[in-house]
Amino acid sequence: MRLRVIALAAALLAAAPARAEAPEVTRFTLANGLEVVVIPDHRAPVVTHMVWYRAGGTDDPQGLSGIAHFFEHLMFKGTRRVAPGELSKIVARNGGQDNAFTTEDYTAYFQRIARDRLDLVMRLEADRMMNLDLSAENVATERDVVLEERRFRVENDPVALFREQLSAALHLSHPYGRPVIGWNEEIRRIGRDEALDFYRRHYAPNNAIVVVAGDVTPDEVRRLAQTHYGRLPRRALAARSDPAAPPRMTETRLAAEHPDVRQSLLLRIYRVPSYVTAAPGEAEALEVLADLLGGGAASRLYKGLVVERKLASAAGAWFAGAARGMTEFGVYAYPRDGVSLAALEKGMNAILADIKSAPPDTAELERTKTVLVADAVYARDSQATMARIYGEALSIGLTVEDVQVWPERIRAVTAEEVQAAAKARLIERESVTGTLEPKAKK
């Protein structure tokens, strides 16, 4: 779940102030520290209302991995005013849809509903921000649900299990190496006390960002936010965790076999700076590099491995740039029948060596940037996407301005910067290379 969210947001982290007017984004802060962002889109009488908490998998206490995600489930299990399970039913009864998601760095709750129900959903979110009322029985039942979710998303999928292993190896002791959903045995240790402790330490208006996109005006949102959220008191919060990304001494290699695998896979992840930790321009260069290397059928990995050398059936790259700490840059390829993973890796390494030794040519660079910037225009077509982009940016410590100037910063990336980013960051020491194969028959 974390990887999908990060990949989506990283790819779409912007609103393009392109030809037509860019959305006028308004941001303000209430006296109790709650931040509010308003993104108007009057094409449909609908709003997307999101509440983002600056708390995620990295805030799970040692030994209790999965608690941030488990707690996200528990936020639906009742307050002093709203019975367990009722919140989603109330939203549905008002013609709305709701859900939530957790990543390493944040947890977000959202509703999509008719514009005249914004008052209702704010009331519901403000209520559960402070008034959660959990029974041990509901916690226990929901723990079973989370264990089923882990089975569904991870344990039934050998590639998902494999990805967990790679991340654990890459980040050493940093909590990014733990799965957001948690390790199986640790999920089982989470009870009502642990959950309420997490709630008290992280859920407060001064640790939250409300994003409203859709058929609204800033004044309207300000008035409603003040009414519902404004009366909530600040809480003293523990300082946000700031764990070390310890130095790596050498590359890690994992060779895994699994009885459920039918299609072999070569996957490598590098530890690289994020939009938050990178020097100016470097994250944008990594973004361009990822697309140039493996963003589509005209990319280097695809052209080199799939089209020209016929070593792979598919190949790609991604950059999970929207993270608070050192993050992942990934490259992958699926070998064609009859091609060894060793041969495939050799081919992949040759392509990576090329981009380190010479800058891309102008046409290739401009094409890559055009696709990225166009993505930002298409993102403006969806109020839900816009809300997610802004919410994610602010949750990890970026600003509204960072989002709005992203297309310009992408356009400003030079060929030399792309090459330099590859040389400086796609280095062996900072990598885990994994191969996943079917279990050999004995």
């Binding site: 449909a44 013609g95 649900v145 089975r151 039934n156 089209v307 598919a314």
Partner: protein, 440 residues
Amino acid sequence: MSARHRLIAGVMLAFAALPARALDIQTPPAPEGMELWLVEDHTLPMIAMTASFPAGSAYDPQGKGGLAAFAAGLIDEGAGEYDATAFTEALDERGIRFSASPDREHLIVSLQTLTEEAGAAFRLLGIALSQPRFAPDAVERVRAQLLAVLKRNEEDPAQVASEAWSRIYFGDHPYGRPVSGTKEEVRAITQADLKAFAARHWVRGAAQIAVAGDVTAERLAKLLDSAFGALPLREVPALPPPERTGAPGTHHVTRDIGQATAIFGAPGILRHDPDFIPAYVANYVLGGGGFSSRLMDEVREKRGLAYGVSTGLVTLSKAGIFAGQVATEASRIGESLDLIRSELRRFAEDGVTGDELDDAKTYLTGAFPLAFDSNGKIAGQLNAFQRDGLAPGYIDERQALIEAVTEEDVQRAARRLFAPEALTIVIAGPEEKPSTAAAP
């Protein structure tokens, strides 16, 4: 094959006082043999199109399963004067997004373009559909990709269960075959097969197009002509109705995994059946309504037996299916299925309460505008209605149709569709131990 990743009629809530905002659907003239719906919106400088052609996997000839998917995978792998790389570069340098994927009955093509690149976008789309190269190296490339996908599908218990279910339910009928075919069939498909399929199915004749965004009817006519004018005008024969619709009972596919996935289904209802809307409402209450559904309540919320449990109505042109899915720890999948069966029985016997019906109507009418809040979603949703054989006026009629459903209507639909004994069930999971055999 590469894929770039991815009027609201009246006010639905009886008690709301919002001004009605109608989705203004135009039906301008289109190239002969094509049905066109257009929603103009000039707010953003972009255009979204979803188009469908009668080119789905049900048209795969016997022994050539995967042909429709194979052809779809080649749609951006070289056409006209462009080889595969040149075609992708032509899209990328203009920021055009283009993808095509088949389902059982249709090839669904999606195009998004900035306004200023629309001319090129529609021209490239037209070349892709009317002059596909199917060059030998591209064919081998996409073959390798399909084989990789088939292998990945074998790793996924839900996919395995679903394919087994279709095969068991429909037998030899085209609906029973996997959309992506089988490895043996995909290995045997030739360039000649692909060219013949495209020539027969990527045609005007039953094509349906929905467009939303920054384009007038007048400009769109020219764009569509450049895209589709060169396609032959040809009728595609209708699919035969299936002879077999179900194999009631429980069937097993052995997978040594911790969580079993069960797919269950029975004969459903066709889209134009007078009882479709009552059935749709009944399904929402039973298992289509997420956390508002009875099955979520019983299976997940009360007992923690599953992360997801849901039901839905599938409407193909020649068959309707009522189907659902649940995944539970292997030793307890029987419990989940017992609960589902008893909920079906209870629903058929007792129907819905007045409150349940009111809540369902409020959701189904109230959430309708959520499907139309972007150009991309408008194009996609309207094309879905076109494929269902609905008229543009449906957008305005839908609210009244849902509001008119009575408790008796819902119970009649439930008695027709929710019959536990009629269920065909496939479980992908570990081998069953005799002591935990599920009751039939």
